[in-house]
């Protein structure tokens, strides 16, 4: 089964390197542009959140990513040793009625939920391990 791994550090400048790696991996796995684009967006949202919020010690931390081909499409696993955070427990996004009432921010987790067909989280020792599944067929559901 196709699987590729990458380790980056907690620096937002690493996101472009991550996306380039993901693009190569998706091409090698023949995922197609649609699935590759959704994986790229999921990875950007998840890892930007980790880099921005998971660490408060100012130290260098590694974040490991793994993309795997599945019968339904692909799965992306992200592993970090930041503070415990279970995306599945984050409150659901509430759609504002107007731009004036909109609270700005916090859409990353909502997008990951919209883009994925399944999500699994576990705390493994000192690590957050999150796996998101993405189907070949794009989902269009609204939470």
């Amino acid at each position: 089964m196709f699987s590729e791994r990458l380790v980056i550090v907690n620096d937002l400048r690493e996101l472009r390197r991550m996306s380039a790696w993901l693009q190569d991996a998706c091409a090698a796995a023949d995922f197609g542009a649609d699935l590759a684009g959704r994986l790229d967006l999921c990875a950007n949202e998840l890892v930007a959140n980790i880099i921005s919020y998971a660490f408060d010690d100012g130290q260098r931390h590694e974040i490991a990513l793994e993309v795997t081909a599945t019968p339904e499409g692909a799965s992306l696993t992200v592993r970090d040793n930041g503070r415990p955070f279970n995306l599945l427990e984050a409150p659901a996004h509430r759609q504002p009625e107007s731009i004036e009432q909109a609270r700005i921010g916090g859409l990353g987790i909502h997008l990951v939920r919209q883009l994925s067909s399944g999500c699994r989280y576990r705390r493994d020792g000192g690590f957050n391990v999150l796996t998101v599944d993405l189907a070949h067929q794009a989902l269009r559901r609204h939470a």
Binding site: G37, I99, L111, A138
Partner: protein, 112 residues
């Protein structure tokens, strides 16, 4: 990312964005975007050359749309590509900031 702006008929400010609107791309254009919408009552943001949009880019679009709207002005998005369009819909932005396929329609919508 690249950003430029021009003023159209009726004092409508048309902002053109191109590139990848991820963390790095958005940081590159964020200040200029805000300066281009400052004191503008009618803004059209051309997204046709944006090939990737993540939540940080959506944040910038929303902040500027909110500021323009709170002044009593209007901001519209023009021509996002299908991928970017899907992200805007998933984020529910299409119901908060109007999206148009033609510049004429966008102009009509934002003009006072």
């Amino acid at each position: 990312m690249n950003i430029d702006a021009e003023t159209l008929e009726g004092n409508v400010r048309r902002i053109h964005l191109s590139g990848r609107m991820d963390v790095q791309g958005t940081q590159e254009i964020d200040l200029k975007f805000t300066s281009f919408t400052a004191n503008q009552d009618a803004v059209i943001v051309d997204l046709s050359q944006v090939d990737f949009l993540s939540s940080i880019g959506i944040r910038t679009l929303m902040l500027n749309a909110k500021a323009v709207t709170q002044r009593g002005g209007k901001m519209a998005l023009l021509n996002p590509d299908p991928t970017v369009s899907a992200v805007l819909e998933m984020a529910g932005i299409d119901t908060l900031i109007p999206i148009f396929r033609s510049e004429a329609d966008a102009l009509k919508a934002v003009s006072p």
